[in-house]
């Protein structure tokens, strides 16, 4: 089918399509970070986990021919990184933010080191589901090509919100995140809970990385991540540690990122590079508006070093 001229309608459509495409890794990384931070720990190393997940997912998908085995491998690799981070941060006097940066360098280094042979080969892509079958307009169909991982991310956000609200596991994570002492008093081991929460968070970040290399942009290279892992920390704060807000924040962030390319597609190329800043300006602006010098951040886990 040839593209139909749909005029300026192309802009919101391209933003919607871009938001769905670009936001998926943000959804997974921010949900992972959300879980970790709710347990009272911050993992700034998710950028390295994401890149390593992208590499290991791509490599395993290429070796086995199945993109889903790739996603699984990325989750396992991410979990190992998360567990390692969680184990290190257990020790008193170790700064979790600095360890995060070191883990970021280590993860990226290891991914580039081991991923060198996989830059050329082509691995199978993850499948997408076309939700645009009702339309004859190819742009609509293209915009509504929704990847299975995006749908999984949406479901996961709902599940995680339910978990925090009404399950025992969620309660345990919340107690540990709010007070180390209270958790100890009721017989919980905060170190173990945080270790597991950091491991699970890492696994989700690994899946986010696999999406990058197995769907969009869909190949493994050293420049695959543009800071998605680092931004997760900002998105979680922006989302006030609420999984469902994480989903919307990621979608908003993805949509803002798609603004520049969408405008360019209808011939507006003025300030093309400035539009790269759009998601960051939007996040910062909303943070400034919703913060207040008088009260602590709403919804923040009390044991989180970031909010002290």
């Amino acid at each position: 089918m040839d593209p139909v001229d749909i005029g300026l309608w192309g802009v919101p459509l391209a933003i919607l399509g871009g938001a769905i495409r670009v936001s998926t890794p943000f959804i997974f990384v921010s949900l992972g970070e959300c879980l970790t931070e709710r347990s009272g720990r911050i993992n700034l190393g998710l950028e390295g986990t994401l890149v390593f997940g992208a590499m290991s997912g791509y490599a395993m998908a290429y070796e086995t021919g199945s993109p889903f085995i790739g996603v699984l491998a990325a989750a396992v690799a991410g979990m190992l990184f998360g567990l390692f981070h969680g184990w290190i941060c257990k020790f008193e006097g170790v700064n979790d933010i600095a360890v995060g940066i070191a883990m970021m360098l280590f993860g990226m280094g290891l991914a580039f080191f081991l991923g060198k042979p996989y830059i050329q080969p082509v691995a199978p892509d993850l499948p997408a589901i076309g939700f645009g079958w009702w339309s004859d307009i190819p742009q609509v169909r293209a915009a509504l090509q929704v990847n299975v991982l995006f749908i999984a991310g949406g479901i996961l956000a709902l599940v995680m919100a339910w978990m925090f609200r009404s399950t025992r596991v969620g309660l345990v994570v919340r107690v540990v995140g709010d007070s180390t002492d209270a958790a100890r008093a009721i017989g919980l081991n905060p170190d173990v809970v945080r270790l597991l929460a950091t491991g699970a968070g890492g696994a989700l970040a690994g899946v986010g990385g696999a999406y990058l290399s197995l769907y969009y942009p869909g190949s493994w290279s050293e420049g695959i991540s543009s800071g998605q892992g680092l931004m997760a920390v900002a998105l979680v704060i922006f989302a006030r540690w609420n999984p469902i807000n994480c989903f919307w924040a990621a979608l908003l962030f993805g949509g803002a990122g798609a603004l520049g390319p969408a405008l360019q597609s209808v011939g507006v190329s003025e300030g093309y590079y400035l539009f790269f800043a759009a998601p960051y300006v939007l996040t910062l602006g909303l943070l400034i508006l919703t913060s207040s010098p008088d009260r602590a951040m709403q919804g923040a886990p009390l044991a989180l070093s970031l909010t002290k």
Binding site: V94, M103, F106, F113, L274, F276, A277
Partner: protein, 350 residues
């Protein structure tokens, strides 16, 4: 006894460094490569000759200044991780100023360029401090977001308004006049940014340890409420310290543009801001320790090329090596106060 108490701060990091080397040796052995050859090459390329020292020192200069952008706010209990933005914008300001002051004598022109870089860098990170004080916005997050915004602004100007039409493949500002290029120091041919970095470290140490401002900052860093009750000017302290840190990062941008690249271009976005965070944490935010730590890291990075060629290892090898060493050094923080031999009680009993 005092000697032994001080020794803890030297013995633990050195031991951790050796443990990091051992862990990386294991990694190399698993891959079937020789650790002996690796460390010999790091020594050769980073520290063995005048030429290698020149390379190492030049690479360490921006790391020193970027680390100060972390260490100064850290004294107030703030974790600023967006120094990269101040480096990039400082470099842009310096490069653009350089085009306007070409007619002035070199030293004056360079002074104005450095000032432009420092002012813009200072405003950029100072804004992070102001947002924290005035609006309660978390400084870690805002500085990170602003680093990405800074890079977008940088690309916008270098690709647009200030682009030299002659720079085809790599968009750059117009090349600086020869008189505005910071030259090499006598005897060791590394650029003057090394001296500037060393001086900045000493100045910061004096500020933090020997002045009432530094003392007030430490109290505010320990307990912000207590500092406010005491009537300390917490707001101006936060904004001042973040702005000063940003100014040093902007100065790093000036030296990269004037001494290394010759114009503002994409090479400025090299991640010095992020490596600087590690330098600051490894130095435990002590300005005097920042300098040697930065030299160590600069030496590691200087050896990357030689290791790639001689040992047939990918260029990411140094990244893996750095990551391992850093993690283990940070892990060693848990050991402080654990060894009886370094505590006063051990020596009083004797």
């Amino acid at each position: 006894m005092r000697l032994m108490l001080g020794a803890e701060a030297v013995v633990i990091p050195l031991g951790a460094l050796l443990a990091g080397f051992a862990a990386f040796s294991l990694f190399l052995l698993v891959l079937g490569k020789s650790p002996v050859e690796f460390f010999a090459l790091v020594w050769k390329a980073g520290f063995s000759s005048a030429f290698s020292w020149q390379n190492t020192l030049s690479r360490s200069a921006p790391l020193v200044l970027a680390a100060l952008c972390v260490a100064l706010p850290a004294r107030l209990g703030l974790v600023v991780i967006g120094g990269e933005g101040a480096i990039v914008l400082g470099g842009l300001a310096a490069g653009v100023t350089g085009l306007a002051v070409g007619g002035l004598p070199g030293v004056l022109g360079m002074g104005l360029m450095a000032a432009a870089g420092m002012v813009l860098g200072g405003l950029w990170i100072g804004a992070v401090g102001a947002l924290r004080i005035k609006r309660g916005v978390n400084e870690t997050i805002s500085s990170l977001l602003m680093a990405y915004i800074a890079i977008a602004l940088f690309n916008h100007f270098v690709e647009g308004l200030f682009r030299d039409p002659g720079s085809l493949n790599k968009p750059s500002t117009a090349p600086l006049a020869e008189s505005l290029r910071v030259g090499d120091m006598p005897f060791i041919s590394a650029h003057w940014g090394v001296v500037a970095g060393a001086l900045a470290c000493i100045l910061c140490w004096i500020l933090l340890e020997k002045t009432t401002l530094g003392f007030a900052a430490r109290i505010a860093g320990d307990n912000i409420r207590a500092a406010q009750v005491q009537g300390l000017p917490v707001g101006p302290l936060v904004i001042g310290f973040t702005a000063l840190g940003g100014a040093f990062a902007g100065l790093a941008g000036f030296f990269e543009v004037s001494a290394v690249h010759g114009s503002a271009n994409g090479s400025l976005i090299a991640g010095y801001g992020y490596t600087g965070i590690l330098v600051a944490f490894l130095a435990r935010h002590n300005p005097l320790a920042i300098f040697p730590v930065a030299i160590l890291l600069g030496g590691f990075e200087a050896s990357s090329g030689l290791i790639q060629r001689r040992m047939d290892l990918p260029d990411a090898t140094i990244l893996v090596f750095q990551g391992m060493v850093f993690i283990i050094i940070l892990l060693s923080e848990a050991l402080y106060g654990r060894f009886a031999i370094f505590t006063p009680a051990y020596w009083e009993r004797r």
